[in-house]
Symmetry: C2
Subunit: 136 residues, 2 copies
Amino acid sequence: MRDPLSSSPGYSLRRASSAMTGLLAERLAAHELRTVEATVMLLIGENPQVTASKIGATLDIQRANMVPLLKRLEDAGLIERTPIDGKSQGLALTAAGTTKMAAVRKTVDRFEAELIARVPEEHRAHLIPALDALWR
Amino acid sequence: MRDPLSSSPGYSLRRASSAMTGLLAERLAAHELRTVEATVMLLIGENPQVTASKIGATLDIQRANMVPLLKRLEDAGLIERTPIDGKSQGLALTAAGTTKMAAVRKTVDRFEAELIARVPEEHRAHLIPALDALWR
DNA sequence: TATTGTTATACTCTATAACTATA
DNA sequence: TATAGTTATAGAGTATAACAATA
């Protein structure tokens, strides 16, 4: 079949992202976490007492969509909320959350290493700068 | 906020893809097409009498999900089906579909050119090979 | 007046299972 | 027996609008 998409950067970008996102999702499923949840936990771990709004702004997740996401993490005993003032609340990993994050981080690190390893050496250093130019 | 994601290729890939996919979707909305629909029409245009199964296999779209997609394109008068045998049907663009595709192609070509232009020159030639190594 | 968190809702995309009819 | 098309359905992801309470 004639494939006019083979030289399309937009198409390559979508397919590569979807393949890698799918692979990561598969591996995080072993920890009973979705990709977004793991990303949110990672940010909370690095920034104790961060607010839901701040995380949403960083990851481009709407405030409204943070609610069920954080609720799942809280119900799973992985994060806890502490009132900062009357309207904000600080987020932090629980002990269980910290333990899980250590394991998750290993999975994510291995995934990232494998991703980079798939890229031929001569293109490797160009990947992140090229990608970041597209959105940062 | 501390951002442990800034050097993560997986994260950069997801964000870049989402930003670019969103931009393309915005522009295709002017043609009343979704990104997948435009992609499917492009393939049909280049491969008259191709089957739904073949397109699905190429784009990794499940057979079941091709049904409503093709129905929308057919209802919009953009594609038509011709029985090949008792169980297969060939897909082709209608006259209206061909006309629309010419305009869509211009939009997509401009989009792809702008995408590439965003990438600093020294990284540009590396983007597609690096991405393709991740999924092809 | 702007911000934080929330509720409710809807639409898209994707995945699975099962069915019919034909090759 | 495998394939093409279809139906129905469910789960994620994402978007918008509106609200209460607080800064």
